[in-house]
Amino acid sequence: MSLFDWFADRRKGQFVGKVSQETDESDGLWCKCPECTQVVYRKDLIANSSVCSNCGHHNRINSEERIKLIADKNTFEKLDQQLSPTDPLGFKDRRSYSDRLRESQAKTGLKDGVVTGICTVEGFPLALAAMDFGFMGGSMGSVVGEKITRLVERATSKRLPLLIVCASGGARMQEGMLSLMQMAKISGALERHREAQLLYMPLLTHPTTGGVTASFAMLGDLILAEPKALIGFAGRRVIEQTLREKLPENFQTAEYLQEHGFVDTIVPRTQLRPTLASLMRLHGSKKIELKKK
C-alpha cells in the first residue's frame, strides 16, 4: 500500500526524499537545500553528514555513505556479496523485472538493495545492515531478506549487537509472496537474537514503510529514527481515501511515532556515531581491535 504512494508521489516528484539539487552554474560544486533553498558548498554538505547546516534537513544518502558514516574507518567487512537476485516469477509488467534489476544494478553498483557486514563503532563491534533506497525503492525481495537473515544469524552466533538501517517502500511485488515471506524469515531470526539477550536497534530513515515497518523495523529492543523521517505502515493517500478527514501535520513522521510511543529516540545524523557507541557501552559492549584492512 505504501509502496503505492511512493510510486504515485514519485511521479509528482515528492516523497522520495528531497535531495539537494546541484545548481547549474557551478558544475556540481555547489548545491541548493530543497528545504531552505540555501546554497552550500557540496564538500561542506558531505562533511556535515549530508545534513543542511542551515535548517537541519537530512538529505538522502546511499548505503555506502551510510556505512562510512557509522563504521570506524576501514573496519567494515562486507558479507554475502555473492548473493544476487533471480526472477522467480518471471515477472513482467510494462517492463520485465530482469530489466528493472539490471537498471538498478547499473545505477547503484549493487546487486540488490542491502549491504551487510561487521564493523566497529568507536571500537565497539557491531553487525550492520544498510538498506539502499536507490535500489528499487529499497524494496525487500529474497536477496534483501536472505542477507539480513544471514547477518542476524551471524550476530547471534558471534554474540554481536545489531543495527539495521531501514530505508524501504516495503515488499518487492515482483517477487510476489516470496517477498512477503522475508518479513517472517527475518522476524524469526530476530527472535533467536533476542532470545540470546543481544541488543538489536533498527534505525528508521526516510522512508520506512509497508512490510519493513510491519517486521524488523518495529522489532528493535530500542528503536532509533532520523529527524522527520517518514515512518508508517499504510500509505498516507490510502488512509485519506478511507478516512476523508485531514491527517495531522506531522502524521507518520519520526516525531509523530515518538509521540505515540513507537520510537525511543530521534538521533540527528551528526550525532549517530557517538549515540550508537554510547548505547552499546551502556549495554555492556566491550571495545575490540578489529583487524584493519
Binding site: M1, F4, F7, Q82, L83, S84, P85, T86, P88, L89, F91, D93, R94, G141, V143, G145, E146, T149, R150, A171, M173, Q174, E175, G176, M177, L178, S179, L180, M181, M183, A184, K185, S187, G188, A189, E191, R192, R194, E195, G210, G211, T213, A214, S215, A217, M218, L219, G232, F233, A234, G235, V238, I239, T242, L243, E245, L247, H260, G261, F262
Partner: protein
C-alpha cells in the same frame, strides 16, 4: 435456486438453472414425470459448473475468494466445534470484531481458533470492518496464542482479509508494530500452529496470524503480497490492469505450492466453497486433523526448529559461490 450473488463467469449457468427451476415447478403443479429431463439438465449444469471452475483465471479466483457467501471463520468454527467459547479483547482497551478468536473442542481435543471475520452483508461488514483488523486485533490474537501456549492448546488460524486496516487510529496505535511482534512471537510458540487461507490472504495483515507449521489453502483462495489493484496502479500505472497483475503475482494455491510457500491445497466443490459449505467444512476438518496428528508427534524443540527452517528456506537467491539458484540458504 435463485442466486443473489452471481459472478460474471457464472452467467452461462444461469440459463440452465432457470430451466431446472421451471421444470421443478411444473412437476410440483402437475402429474407429469420430469425426472428424466431433470436428471439430464442437472448433469449438464454440474458438468458446466465443473468446467468453468476448473478453468478459473487468478482474477476470477479472487472473485470466488471474496464471495459474500463463502464460508467464514465463524462458519467453519460452527461446523467443527461441539463446544466453542469466543474470547474477547486485547487487554489494552480494544476488542476488534474483524479478528476473532476463542477456545473450541474438535473431536476430543481443545484448540485455540483465531481468524479474520468478514460480514455477509453491508451492515455486518461495517461492524466487522470488512475483515480488516486494527492493531488491537493483532494484539488480541497474540494474547490468545500466548494463552494457548500456556495451556498446551494447538492453534488453528483462519486467514480471510483484504489486508490490515489502513487508518489514522491504526497508525497511531502501531499497526506495523502489532503485526511485527506477532511475526516474531509466533516463532516462540511451543504448540502446533496451522494456518489456512480460507478466503483472501491480503499481505502483512494475513501474515500477522500466518507464521505456522503448516500453511493450507483452499483451491480458490488467494494469497497476495499486495492487492492486484494496487499492484496494477503502481507497476502498470493503470488500475484496469488488475487481472494481469493478479496473474503475474502468482497468488493461487498451485502457484504458491510450487514456490514452497504453501504446504497443501484443499479441493473445493465445483462452484466453490459457497456452493457447498458443509463439504468445505469436512475437507478442512480432515486436513487439520491429519496435519495436527503429524505435528503433535514432534517435541516442542523439534516443532520450533522445523518452523524456523520452514520460513528460513523461503525465497530464491543466486549464490555465485555455489553458482546455483538456491531456495534460501
Amino acid at each position: 435456486m435463485a442466486r443473489k450473488y452471481l459472478l460474471d463467469f457464472e452467467k452461462p449457468l444461469v440459463e440452465l438453472e432457470k430451466q431446472i427451476e421451471q421444470i421443478r415447478e411444473l412437476a410440483r403443479d402437475s402429474e407429469v414425470d420430469v425426472s428424466q429431463q431433470l436428471l439430464q439438465l442437472e448433469t449438464l449444469a454440474a458438468r458446466r459448473r465443473e468446467e468453468i471452475f476448473q478453468a478459473l483465471t487468478p482474477a476470477q479466483k479472487i472473485q470466488v475468494a471474496r464471495h459474500p457467501h463463502r464460508p467464514s471463520t465463524l462458519d467453519f468454527i460452527q461446523m467443527f466445534c461441539e463446544e466453542w467459547i469466543e474470547l474477547h479483547g486485547d487487554r489494552n482497551g480494544n476488542d476488534d470484531q474483524a479478528l476473532i478468536g476463542g477456545i473450541g473442542l474438535i473431536g476430543e481435543r481443545s484448540v485455540m481458533l483465531i481468524g479474520q471475520q468478514k460480514g455477509r452483508d453491508t451492515k455486518e461488514n461495517v461492524a466487522r470492518n470488512f475483515g480488516m483488523a486494527t492493531p488491537g486485533g493483532y494484539r488480541k490474537a497474540l494474547r490468545l496464542m500466548n494463552h494457548a501456549d500456556r495451556f498446551n492448546l494447538p492453534i488453528l488460524t483462519f486467514i480471510d482479509t483484504p489486508g490490515a486496516y489502513a487508518g489514522l487510529l491504526a497508525e497511531e496505535q502501531g499497526q506495523g508494530e502489532a503485526i511485527a511482534v506477532n511475526l516474531r512471537e509466533m516463532f516462540r510458540l511451543r504448540v502446533p500452529v496451522i494456518a489456512t487461507v480460507i478466503g483472501e490472504g491480503g499481505s502483512g495483515g494475513a501474515l500477522g496470524i500466518g507464521v505456522a507449521d503448516r500453511l493450507l489453502m483452499f483451491e480458490h483462495s488467494v494469497y497476495t503480497v499486495a492487492s492486484p489493484e494496487a499492484c496494477a496502479s503502481i507497476l502498470w500505472r493503470d488500475a484496469g490492469k488488475a487481472p494481469e497483475a493478479a496473474a503475474a503475482l502468482k497468488i493461487t494455491g498451485p502457484d504458491l505450492l510450487s514456490l514452497g510457500v504453501v504446504d497443501e491445497v484443499l479441493p473445493e466443490p465445483a462452484g466453490g466453497n459457497n456452493w457447498a459449505p458443509l463439504k468445505a467444512g469436512e475437507v478442512l476438518r480432515e486436513a487439520l486433523e491429519r496435519h495436527l496428528g503429524q505435528l503433535l508427534r514432534l517435541s516442542e524443540d523439534q516443532l520450533r526448529e522445523a518452523r524456523y527452517k520452514k520460513f528460513r528456506s523461503m525465497g530464491r537467491v543466486l549464490d555465485s559461490n555455489s553458482s546455483e539458484i538456491g531456495i534460501g540458504s
